[in-house]
């Protein structure tokens, strides 16, 4: 125990406090007695001083009578000097009847410090005591005349020295008194407190559990009575202690069980809360007064309103439905649902509504209200995403249906065009003179080519075929598309290709079509000219991918124009087929094709636009994660000159017009042509000819044969028994992978329908002449 702790113990002890009180009382008594003594002494000193001064004045007056009478100033001065010998007297003056000072003496060692008191006594010729006759008659003494006066000034402050001495004496006596009282009182108190200390020690031991402790009980004294009572108390406590211990044991068991139950309840509650928070629906409950008691995590995250912000259900309605009219309608719907549920005896009432989130977005929500044990459980099911998904699904279904329909139409349309163009070209070859018919045929050919282009796009949109993906530089595709589409448009392009831009695995042709369409769309949006900004960037896995994309590496291409912009309500519609804001200019298939191609590549295209500020198309296309390949695609093969050729040609196509066109044009070029409608027939004819020793020089196989083997399958069968077979694939789906990568499937060349000019004959001529014919 430190000295300080020991002092604290002593300070808090009862003995110390009693002794302190004792000392305080003694101090008060000493102070009172001392103060009274000092006051009495002061008063006595004042009286003494005053009396002394008055006596001095009287004596001076008496002594000065004769000198005043005789005008003996020297004697008066002596008397005045004698008067101020008294240290209490500051000044003595003798004045004549006219007030003239005859003698003025001051105490040589005293300078006035204030509080001067003065006594003046008139000096008369008769002594102050009159004769008995005068006293009886009330007359003044005969012949009494005033001679002058004496004035004695005395300074009461001179008493302070004596007062200080008195105070010091009183203080000294007081301290001595306190010392004596303390010295005498402490042992007495200590002796008297010994029994009390023993009682306290005993109480402390009993408090600490020593209930067998018994205190010595002196008969008669208060402490003895207290000790007896304490002994009784100890006995009672001992009995109670036993009972309490037993009770404590049972309570501990109960508390343990209760604690366990509480822990389980807490765990259960925690689990319930975790479940609630993990639920993909908003859950909240209120009391019957509408005070919100719980909101799960989903509800907070989805709508953005914190638990502390919303205190009542009215607060929820206020914030979730800011439009008063709509709020009123929601409340009416809620009440109606509750009434309906009540009538049906159901516990749950449901209604729908739009909830305005904290960020301003609007969610479509189904509310389920259920009353459970004085609380209303509210379940909110956000069907916004589900509705969007449904919309996308419906749209996809619609598009698929539309695609099938368009594909069929386009296929037939293309076949028809193939015949038209073929015959036009065939006819033109027959017309050697540039006469009027020649001009008209050219125009018809141009118009038919345009129709063929539309059909091609329709086919791409409808089926498009699987993109023929290959690693490529998207920068090159963009530059090619810009140079192709901006010719003479009066629009500039700003292309930002950062160094290290990753390559993409994509179909170059389809991707080129995407950028062609986007650039044409931008040019059309800026009829007065302007600049198209194209910015590319890598989007890595470290950033969350845009909505609808799987995690991975992407190349982001943002294409912005400064055109008139697109209203918000049209942002989604622009990607629908045949939707156009520029009737007469666009076909309505451009942006639909863009979305179709991009999504087939595993990417997304989004549009951000504000009216008057232009539009930005942002494309995300999966990247290879590495730099794009540097080599350019192989240079186009030289076209072989058209020449008369010989040989037999097997021509497979399901369309009679095309078969006839092919027969006529090829035979016109010197070939023997055998046509067939079905793939099986083609195989049989080829095998038969080969077996007979007159094999076909080449076979032109239509890629798509409805309800039968297509060109790809037929080629595979033929190559199986004649690996050297010269096979040419023909199709209206120019973007079909078989068309784009025909060599991998065993074809020597590919010819797209409709056949332009003499493309087919030139291709066959090139092949049969020993050179590889280009595909078109």
């Amino acid at each position: 125990m430190t000295l300080r702790d020991r002092f604290e113990v002593i300070r808090k002890s009862f003995l110390f406090r009693i002794f302190s009180i004792f000392i305080q009382v003694a101090t008060v008594v000493a102070l009172l007695v001392g103060s009274l003594y000092i006051l009495t002494e002061i008063r006595k000193d004042r009286r003494t001083s005053e009396t002394l001064s008055r006596l001095t004045a009287v004596g001076l007056a008496k002594s000065a009578r004769l000198p005043l009478f005789s005008g003996d100033a020297e004697e008066l001065s002596k008397l005045a000097q004698f008067a101020v010998v008294n240290p209490a007297i500051h000044r003595a003056m003798v004045l004549d009847r006219s007030g003239r000072v005859l003698a003025d003496a001051r105490h040589s060692k005293i300078s006035p410090q204030g509080n001067i008191q003065a006594i003046s006594i008139e000096v008369r010729s008769s002594p102050s005591g009159s004769s008995p006759d005068d006293v009886l008659t009330g007359e003044t003494a005969r012949g009494d005349l005033p001679l002058g006066s004496v004035r004695i000034e005395y300074e009461t402050i001179r008493l302070s020295g004596h007062i200080r001495g008195t105070i010091l004496l009183a203080v000294a006596f007081g301290l001595l008194f306190l010392l004596l009282v303390s010295a005498a009182g402490y042992p007495v108190l200590r002796r008297e407190m010994r029994s009390f200390d023993e009682l306290l020690r005993g109480l402390g031991e009993i408090r600490d559990g020593d209930y067998d402790r018994r205190l010595p009980a002196d008969s008669g004294s208060e402490l003895g009575i207290a000790a007896t009572n304490v002994n009784g108390l100890a006995a009672a406590l001992k009995q109670r202690d036993g009972e309490n211990r037993e009770l404590q044991r049972s309570l501990e068991c109960e508390i343990q069980a209760h604690t366990h139950s509480e822990a389980e309840a807490r765990e259960s509650e925690r689990t319930l809360r975790d479940l609630m928070d993990a639920m993909p629906a908003g859950v909240a409950w209120t009391d019957l007064d509408g005070n919100i008691r719980f909101m799960n995590r989903y509800m907070i995250d989805c709508f953005g309103y914190g638990y502390g912000e919303l205190r009542t259900i009215e607060d929820w309605f206020f914030w979730a439905h800011p439009d008063p009219d709509y709020r009123r309608s929601v409340l009416e719907a809620r009440n109606a649902a509750a009434e309906a549920a009540s009538k049906q005896g159901a516990d749950v009432s449901s209604y729908e509504g739009r909830v305005t989130c904290r960020d301003g977005s609007v969610r479509h929500v189904i509310f389920n209200n259920q009353i459970r044990k004085e609380r209303i459980v509210i379940t909110l099911i956000d069907i916004t995403d589900r509705e969007a998904m449904q919309e996308r699904f419906i749209r996809a279904q619609k598009m698929e249906t539309l695609g099938i329909l368009a594909g069929g139409i386009a296929h037939n349309f293309n076949n028809a065009l193939t015949s038209v163009l073929g015959y036009i070209g065939f006819a033109r070859m027959k017309l050697n003179d540039p006469d009027k018919a020649m001009q008209l045929l050219k125009k018809a050919e141009i118009a038919s080519s345009a129709a063929a282009g539309i059909a091609g796009q329709l086919l791409t949109f409808a089926r498009g075929g699987d993109p023929v993906k290959a690693p490529l530089s998207i920068a090159k595709v963009i530059r090619d598309a810009v140079s192709l589409s901006l010719g003479g448009a009066g629009v500039d392009a700003s292309i930002e290709i950062p160094p290290g831009l990753h390559g993409v695995e994509a179909d170059e042709g389809q991707l080129g079509q995407v950028f062609n369409n986007l650039i044409i769309n931008a040019v059309q949006a800026m009829p007065d000219g302007g600049t198209i900004a194209i910015r590319c960037a890598n989007v890595g896995t470290e950033k969350p991918p845009p909505q609808g994309l799987l995690p991975g590496d992407y190349v982001r291409i943002a294409l912005s124009d400064r055109g008139c912009g697109i209203p918000e309500e049209m942002l989604e519609k622009v990607f629908e087929p045949y939707f156009t804001t520029r009737a007469g200019i666009g076909s309505g298939l451009g942006l639909a094709s863009v979305r179709s191609i991009v999504e087939k590549h595993g990417g997304t295209v989004t549009l951000h636009s504000e009216v008057g500020k232009g539009a930005t198309f942002t494309l995300h296309i999966p990247s290879t994660g590495t730099l794009a390949p540097g080599e350019d695609p192989p240079a186009p093969e030289n076209l072989a000159p058209t020449a008369m050729a010989g040989g037999s040609i097997l021509f497979l196509d399901d369309e009679a017009l095309i078969r006839n066109l092919a027969r006529e044009t090829l035979e016109d070029s010197g070939y023997r042509v055998t046509t067939c409608t079905h793939g099986e027939d083609a195989i049989a004819l080829y095998r038969e000819a080969k077996d007979q020793g007159t094999p076909f020089s080449a076979a032109v196989l239509d890629l798509t044969i409805p309800n039968g083997l297509g060109g790809r399958e037929v080629a595979g069968r033929i190559l199986a028994f004649d690996p050297d077979a010269v096979l040419v694939v023909s199709s209206g789906y120019s973007n079909n992978p078989v068309m784009s990568d025909h060599r991998r499937f065993g074809f020597r060349a590919a010819v797209s329908k409709p056949y332009k000019d003499d493309a087919l004959t030139r291709t066959l001529a090139g092949l049969l002449a020993g050179s590889t014919a280009p595909h078109h």
Binding site: R65, L66, F69, S70, G71, D72, E74, S125, A141, L147
Partner: protein
């Protein structure tokens, strides 16, 4: 030790006188009681008026002086006794005339017998009575010891009638009786005449005289200016130098045989002094007619 010193001084004095008279004897032997200013002043007056030679012996300088033997040895023609002590010491001188000077006992109590002459220390009583009359006093109180001033008061009483003044006389035999006598005079006198009476006027009773004056509003007429400051209104002071001169004239007359040996003239030249403050307190205008 002091006695021894005085004896030595006497031996020296006799030796000195012997040496001095060995050549030429002095005409006048001045026996002086002491060396007070008054004595010196009077002696100076005497010397100024006396043409002969003088020798001086100051009694207070010696323990004991035998003036008779000294006169025998020195053989002066006249002895001038200055002061009562000197006069007493010279009374037994019979060979030469003795002239008293400033000796109150000379002619105040009773007339001296033998060859002693002298000049009185007071002017004639008439001068005092005249002064009292000037102050307007009809009743003049006098307290005296007849053994000291009986002769002079007798002369005063004789003259008082001429001035229309009633002298209210109270006799005292001891100084302690003075205050009682003053009490008896309260309301009975218009002025108080203080005589050079050593019984009536002492240091202890002096205040009683002036308190009487103060309380009874009556002026005190005294014989010395010294008492003015104590409370006296008017004093009639003799001219001490003139007293000496007067004594010299008397001595010359005696030496010439023109005068008898028992001549006691009063002081002839006096000066009146007043205390204006006392006069003002008493309501008297002392500056007007007193002088």
């Amino acid at each position: 030790m002091a006695v021894l010193m005085r004896a030595l001084r006497l031996i020296f004095a006799v030796a000195f006188l012997a040496c001095a008279t060995g050549a030429t004897a002095a005409d006048v032997l001045i026996v002086q009681s002491g060396r007070s200013t008054a004595y010196e002043e009077s002696v100076r007056g005497f010397r100024s008026a006396h043409k002969g030679t003088v020798q001086t012996v100051v009694l207070s300088d010696y323990a004991e002086v035998d003036v008779v033997r000294l006169v025998k040895e020195e053989q002066p023609r006249l002895v001038l006794a200055v002061g009562d002590a000197a006069l007493a010491a010279s009374r037994k001188v019979s060979q030469v005339p003795v002239v008293g000077l400033l000796a109150p006992s000379l002619n105040l109590a009773k007339r001296p017998v033998g060859s002693v002459s002298g000049v009185g220390v007071l002017p004639p009583p008439e001068r005092y009575l005249e002064l009292c009359r000037t102050l307007g006093a009809k009743r003049v109180g006098v307290i005296h010891d007849p053994d000291r001033t009986g002769l002079y008061l007798k002369r005063a009483r004789q003259a008082a009638n001429r001035f229309g003044i009633e002298l209210v006389v109270r006799e005292v035999r001891a100084p302690r009786e003075t205050l009682a006598r003053l009490e008896q005079l309260k309301g009975a006198v218009d002025a108080l005449w203080m005589l050079p009476d050593a019984t009536a006027v002492t240091a202890e009773t002096l205040e009683g005289w002036f308190l009487f004056s103060l309380q009874q509003k009556v002026p005190v007429v005294t014989f010395s200016e010294q008492y003015l400051a104590k409370g006296a209104a008017v004093s009639l002071d003799v001219d001490r130098a003139d007293l000496g001169r007067q004594a010299a004239e008397l001595a010359d007359s005696l030496l010439n045989g023109a005068a008898s040996r028992s001549t006691w003239p009063d002081a002839r030249k006096v000066t009146v002094h007043t205390n204006e403050t006392v006069g003002k307190n008493l309501g008297l205008d002392l500056s007007a007619g007193v002088k």
